[in-house]
Symmetry: C2
Subunit: 105 residues, 2 copies
DNA sequence: AATGCATATAATCATTTCGTTATATACTAT
DNA sequence: ATAGTATATAACGAAATGATTATATGCATT
């Protein structure tokens, strides 16, 4: 059963994306790569926390890194097999209306 | 800033989907609604565990429920504002190759 | 009303996640 | 070599997650 594996991989991939900070990171990263220090300025969490979020995204191969001297730049991995999902999410972020609580019917 | 809210909502939505059991549920639910007892047979976890997974998906409005006598049937909510993401995920599940560990370059 | 089946909720526990502070590593410049 | 800046890792704690067992609820049948 390769389905099991596929489901597991997808779950891991989505977990990497299902965090506000990481969503904001990939939103900002669209079109232009950013170095870690830019994210550190952008968020109200510590530099190590940012670093770990970037590592989660990198491990899931959602983003790629490039070193230039002392700086490390991150960009979207447009070659990811599930890049279509990333795009759909980014599109959804542009104008998502607030979700109302489930009515359940 | 409504972006904050949008990001938070998206994060919640993705969290609901980023679990193997719940992905399997929505995969099976495609096209045909299922009652809870069918999921209970399908998975190796307890009935209360299934029930809670269904509740997570229902709260996120990913699925809708319908009661028929003692049975409760669940189906995909095709009217969800982010249904496009659900479709993209289901598509990705059909033939996703295993992800190799990140090379990091 | 009593019993049985389908489903949900509560209480509890182990594991994972995400933050912090402290420290290590990599590169730059003096 | 030393010091400074950029980034990563380690150690730890609080909160969230996902499982279990026990129990409650809703509906059907006798």
């Amino acid at each position: 059963m390769r389905e099991k594996q596929s489901i597991e991989a997808m779950s891991q991939f989505l977990k990497a994306l299902s965090d506000s900070t990481r969503l904001e990171i990939i939103r900002r990263i669209q079109g232009k790569e950013h170095c870690v220090c830019e994210f550190v300025e952008m968020f109200d969490i510590s530099q190590p926390a940012i670093s770990r979020h970037l590592k989660v995204l990198k491990t899931a191969e959602v983003i790629l890194e490039r070193r230039d001297r002392q700086w490390i730049y991150y960009r979207l991995n447009e070659a990811h097999p599930q890049y279509g999902i990333v795009l759909q999410i980014l599109k959804g972020l542009e104008s998502e209306p607030a979700l109302s609580p489930a009515c359940g019917c």
